[in-house]
């Protein structure tokens, strides 16, 4: 028995900011202080506040130490763990008030969050099945196997209104019902988990797998019981080494406890799960390509129908759900459909996890009830835009989604509202952009991504996206005409209508949504040959104001292209001759401008 638990975040974010070192130092210092029998050090999954990593929480006080450095550890151990004095100077600033430390749940970042899928992330040790069971883990599986029929399970999930969290938002219960009923020949069926999270800036699924892997295993077993499958596959990216490692440990532990394998709980139900590692192709997140890849073939999509529920993996009925979808299942079984329905909007129930990134103070992972507005997420939970800059747009849905402009900040976020404003829920990446982001450049970034990731099977996607990217390139170079803009729009709709799979069909979305809300920016690039955000290099010109220049020559020293030289002109009141930039040599890196202390250099 331990009187105190010190939780150290072992998610990918905190691991890369050094939490492993913190953990070993902590154990060393605790040992030195003779507390190793009293204080437990527990490695957990992601707490969400990745911007402030490494994160360390001391219970039972619930003290939240953020951005912990190795040199803090001896002091924290001596003061807090030995003497019981919280070391306020290292505690997350927002929780420190004059008299006391306020609970984490009352800080702006956590106040509006409601954690269901992430409920165990940052609370339990993901490598301990006992801790998962201690938070009511595997109770839902027990309940399902002993008290419910497969039809009951499907009805509860249907009734809860749970929709696929991978992006498309298909009702999960409906999917299970189809897989159970459409083919009843008594043959093998499969339960698959899509953990091939590939959207740039999205890491919800990784965090669930790293922080609470058993929740996914339990839900897959429940799904197996519901549709009549005895085998499951988790398709996870090999680029997620920590997630893969913890899944392996979790599957091993579950087998050892008999929670996976033959005759689970003595009910005669068999279910086992295997891992399949993806090599990182974005298209393998598309369901038909994913299953082709599990079968051992090149990951290319195939036309639907037949849908996977009829003819999926190895041509057998298959359900494929996203990690976050599964993370909700056990909680719905335990707490009932009405509990789940009480959260969210009319057509989107429950919560959604978002990975906040880009120009925002609190980068990290947040889970909010559906219907929360973008403004609440960006300004309250996210802590606003750094350096006093103005919000320009939020990108949701990754390369398949679109940009949401400031006028839609107050739209309640759910599947249908996002589609109505030209974006989509996607898997939950939310990238915030400020006024220094060029929307044409962003569209080009996402298009370049799809060009790289297109599998090449169908022409609209393989060639269409390439042409789109070339047109965008032309615009950013100031060589396009308004006619090109119309052509580009036409091509977008052509690709949307004709591509084979979801990747191609949604690839033009970043272009279409930026065109819809930021057409003026495109026009500035084309007509005025200017980039209003000052990003597109070919449209920029750096200039030195010769009357402000004191001739110190610092800019010339910094210039990597030797494009700056001295003129003959000495401004009134200055001692040295002014500098000038040779536009033909300038590479527009901006080094001169950031060096100049006199504000003599400008770009426009």
């Amino acid at each position: 028995m331990y009187r105190s638990h010190v939780l150290v975040c072992g998610g990918t974010g905190c691991t890369s900011s050094g939490s492993q070192q913190i953990q070993s130092l902590l154990k060393e210092e605790i040992e030195k202080a003779g507390l190793s029998k009293e204080v437990a050090v527990v490695q957990t999954g992601c707490h969400g506040l990745c911007a402030l990593g490494p994160i360390m929480i001391v219970y039972p006080e619930g003290t939240f130490y953020s951005a912990v450095k190795p040199e803090y550890i001896p002091e924290i151990v001596q003061e807090h763990l030995v003497k019981g004095r919280i070391v306020k100077k290292y505690v997350y600033e927002e929780t420190v008030t004059n008299e006391e430390i306020k609970p984490l749940a009352e800080t702006a970042f956590y106040k509006k969050q409601h954690r269901i899928a992430l409920r165990n992330c940052g609370v339990i040790n993901p490598e301990s099945i006992d801790e998962y069971i201690g938070t009511n883990g595997y109770a839902a599986l027990g309940k399902v196997l002993t008290e419910m029929t497969p039809e009951d399970v499907i009805n509860v999930i249907l009734d809860s209104g749970l929709r696929g969290r991978g992006g498309a938002g298909f009702p999960t219960g409906k999917k299970w019902q189809l897989a159970r009923n459409l083919v009843q020949d008594g043959g093998q069926k499969y339960v698959c988990c899509n953990a091939d999270e590939g959207d740039p800036g999205a890491f919800m699924d990784r965090s669930v797998l790293e922080g609470d892997p058993h929740a996914v295993l339990e839900a897959m077993a429940i799904a197996g019981y519901a549709i009549g499958a005895s085998q499951g596959y988790i398709y996870v990216r090999a680029e997620y080494p920590i997630a893969v490692q913890r899944l392996k440990i979790a599957i091993g532990q579950a087998r050892e406890y008999g929670l996976l394998g033959k005759d689970i709980f003595g009910t005669g139900f068999d279910f086992d799960i295997d891992l399949r590692l993806g090599a990182g192709a974005f298209v393998c997140g598309e369901e038909t390509a994913l299953m082709t890849s599990i079968e051992g073939n090149r990951g290319e999509p195939r036309p639907r129908p037949p849908f996977p529920a009829v003819k999926g993996l190895f041509a057998r009925p298959t359900i494929l759900n996203n990690v976050e979808t599964y993370a909700n299942v056990a909680q719905i079984i335990l707490n009932g459909a009405d509990w789940f329905k009480s959260m969210g909007t009319e057509k989107s129930k429950g919560t959604k996890v978002f990975a906040l990134g880009g120009k925002i103070n609190n980068t990290g992972l947040v889970e909010v009830p559906m219907g929360t507005t973008l403004r609440e997420i960006v300004e309250e939970i996210g802590g606003g835009i750094p350096n006093g800059k103005k919000f320009k747009a939020a990108q949701t849905g990754g390369p398949s989604g679109g940009c949401i402009p400031p006028e839609h900040l107050d739209v309640p976020i759910d599947y249908d509202n996002l589609i109505a404003i030209g974006s989509m829920m996607g898997s939950g990446g939310l990238i915030v952009m400020d006024e220094t982001t060029c929307m044409v450049d962003i569209a080009k970034f996402f298009l370049d991504f799809t060009v790289d990731e297109s599998c090449g099977k169908c022409t609209p996607c393989r060639i269409g996206t390439k042409r789109l990217s070339e047109m965008l390139e032309k615009i950013t170079k100031g060589q396009a005409t308004l006619e090109d803009l119309d052509k580009m729009e036409e091509l977008c709709y052509y690709i949307k209508d004709n591509a084979l799979c979801g990747l191609g069909q949604t690839a033009p979305n970043p272009v279409l949504s930026t065109l819809r809300y930021f057409r003026n920016e495109y026009i500035s690039h084309i007509v005025d040959k200017k980039c209003p955000a000052g990003v597109c290099k070919d449209l920029l010109k750096y200039e030195i104001d010769r009357d402000k220049c004191i001739g110190c020559g610092m800019c010339a020293k910094q210039c990597p292209a030797s494009a700056i030289s001295r003129t003959d002109y000495i401004a009134p009141g200055k001692k040295l001759a002014a500098m000038e930039i040779d536009a033909s040599k300038c590479v527009k890196c901006g080094a001169c401008m950031s060096t100049c202390k006199f504000g003599a250099i400008s770009k426009n």
Binding site: E38, P60, E61, G62, R85, E131, I133, G134, Y138, D263
Partner: protein, 123 residues
């Protein structure tokens, strides 16, 4: 594992452990003075006894926490019990045996042990 009973046994064993990490603002707080004066007069075994007892007996909504010097060094080890809506009870000159008694009679039974309190010593 072949039965729900075995699952429940593990859950019951672990709940006390993991429950330590809940943010229980509403519950009872048992505070042990753990400054130099407290530690010197034996607060550590008291703290350990209390937290073990709360966990093994699976007492819900009770957290055992430590604090610094309360300022009454001659009365250490000091244990304060704060129950929501009730007056604070301050126990003085505690030891593991007395601590167990407090768990039984006060935390479980609901009746403070007047004999061990500061109020009595002040009279």
């Amino acid at each position: 594992m072949k039965s729900l009973a075995e699952l429940k046994a593990i859950r019951d064993k672990m709940q006390g452990q993991v429950g330590l990490r809940a943010e229980s603002e509403a519950g009872t707080r048992v505070i042990v003075g753990m400054a130099t004066c407290g530690i010197a007069s034996g607060a550590r075994p008291v703290l350990n006894t209390l937290s073990d007892a709360v966990m093994t007996k699976n007492l819900k909504d009770i957290s055992v926490v430590q604090t610094g010097c309360i300022g009454l060094c001659q009365y250490e080890p000091i244990v304060e019990v704060l129950e929501p809506g009730k007056e604070k009870v301050t126990y003085i000159k505690m030891n593991p045996e007395k601590a167990l008694e407090v768990v039984e009679k006060h935390l479980i039974g609901g009746t403070p042990i007047y004999d061990y309190t500061l109020q009595k010593a002040m009279k």
